[in-house]
Symmetry: C2
C-alpha cells in the first residue's frame, strides 16, 4: 500500500529516475528495512549499502541523510500502526482495544527495531510527522479504557512509551534466542494494569517533557555527532 512507483518526498520537480537507478533505490529501501529491523537507527548507511549490494556513494546520492531513508522505509509500516490504533479505538470493549493496541504494537516493535526507534523518536526533524495521529489515538484508547473502569485510574498516556521502552529492551536482549520473551513481561504488566489489580500507588505521573527527554536517551541519534 502507498506503494506509488515514483518519488515520494513531495513536490520536487525532479525528472523520473533512470531505470537502473530506480531499481537500486528499491533495493536500498528493502535492504534498509532489513538492516534497521535488526539494528535500529544505529545501523549505518554503509551497512545498508553493503546489504543492498550497492556502493556507499549510491546510498548517499539517493538518501543524503539517514532521516530521508528512514522516512522512505517506514511510511508504509507507519500506516499499519495508524490502522491498528484506529481498530483499537473502535472495539466494543475499551479494555479489549487497549490490549489489542498493546500486544500488537509491542509485537511489531519487537520484530522491527527500526519501527520501535521511529515510534520512540521525539520531535527532532520531520520524522514525527510520519506518525500522524498515532499519539492522539493511543491517548484516546487509554482514556477510553480508564473511563470504562477496566483500566486502573492512575495509568496515564505518558506511561505507554515507557512501557515500550521496557519491553523493547527485553526484545532486544532476548531477541536472538527467544523472540517472544517480551510477551511474558507484557502479560505481567497487563495483569498489573487492570483496575482490580491496582493496590500499589503509582505516585506522580511522568510529564510529557520528562518522557521526551527519556526517549532521546534510548533512540540512537539520526544525525552524526557534531559537524
Amino acid at each position: 500500500m502507498t506503494g506509488s512507483t515514483v518519488p515520494v518526498t513531495a513536490a520536487d520537480e525532479t525528472r523520473p529516475l533512470r531505470r537502473d537507478a530506480q531499481r537500486n533505490r528499491e533495493r536500498i529501501i528493502a535492504a534498509a528495512h532489513e538492516v534497521f529491523a535488526t539494528r535500529g537507527f544505529a545501523a549505518t548507511l554503509d551497512d545498508v549499502a553493503h546489504h543492498a549490494g550497492v556502493g556507499v556513494g549510491t546510498v548517499y546520492r539517493r538518501f543524503p541523510t539517514k532521516e530521508e531513508l528512514v522516512a522512505a522505509v517506514f511510511a508504509d509500516r507507519m500506516q499499519d500502526v495508524v490502522a491498528l490504533a484506529e481498530r483499537a479505538l473502535a472495539t466494543e470493549s475499551a479494555w479489549d482495544g487497549l490490549i489489542l493496541l498493546l500486544t500488537e504494537s509491542v509485537r511489531m516493535q519487537a520484530r522491527d527495531r527500526g519501527l520501535r526507534d521511529l515510534l520512540l523518536t521525539v520531535d527532532k526533524s520531520n520524522l514525527p510527522a510520519l506518525k500522524g495521529r498515532v499519539p492522539e489515538l493511543a491517548t484516546a484508547v487509554i482514556e477510553r479504557a480508564r473511563a470504562e473502569g477496566t483500566l486502573r485510574p492512575d495509568f496515564e498516556p505518558t506511561d505507554l512509551p515507557m512501557i515500550f521502552t521496557m519491553l523493547s529492551e527485553v526484545a532486544r536482549t532476548c531477541g536472538d534466542i527467544r523472540p517472544d520473551a517480551y510477551e511474558r513481561y507484557l502479560t505481567l504488566i497487563i495483569d498489573g494494569l487492570r483496575a482490580g489489580s491496582a493496590r500499589g500507588d503509582l505516585g506522580a505521573p511522568l510529564t510529557i517533557s520528562c518522557v521526551q527527554d527519556a526517549l532521546t536517551k534510548c533512540v540512537p541519534p539520526l544525525e552524526p555527532r557534531r559537524r
Copy 2:
C-alpha cells in the same frame, strides 16, 4: 565494613604501598565509585583518572584492568546486597520479603548504575564471585513467596534479572529528571505479581542460559574489544 586498609586482591607478596600511593589508590576508588555510579561499566579508566585528579598512568599502574578496579570498588556495596537478601529471606511474610528485595535492590541499582552492571554481569572473569550467595538467596526469596501462595505461581527466578533490566532502563533514561520514575513501573509490576492478579498466561519461562545471553547484551563489556 570489609574496609581493610591493605591490598584486597588475595595472596600477593607485595610490600605495602608508599603513603602517597595509598592515598591515590583511595582517591581512585572513590572517584571510580562516582563515575561508575553514573556511567556504569561504560566509564573509561581515563574518566576515573580525571575524576580522581591523578594521571591515567597511575590508574593503570594500580588497576591494570577495569575488572580489578570494579572489584575494589564494589566489594563493600555487594555486602549490602547480600545483607538485604538475607533480610528479605528472614521476614515473617514471604511476600513482604519479596517486596523488600525488589524495592530495595532496584533502588540501589537506580542510584548506582555500576552496581546494576555488576549484578547483571554474567560469569565472565571473577566478578560473579563478588556476588556471593546473592543469586541463591534471591531464588529462595522467590520460591518462598510462591510456596506461600501470595506470588503468582508462574513467576520464576529467571524473571528477576529481566525485571532489573526493564526497570534499570527506566532509571537510566529518566534518571536525570525523575530519579524515582522507576518506582512507578515497579509498582505496576508488583501489582501484576500478586497471585490474585494473575489472569494472563505467562507462557514458558526463560531458561537460565537465555537470560545469561540477554544480560551480556545489556552490560558494557569490561575488556576492550579485540587485542
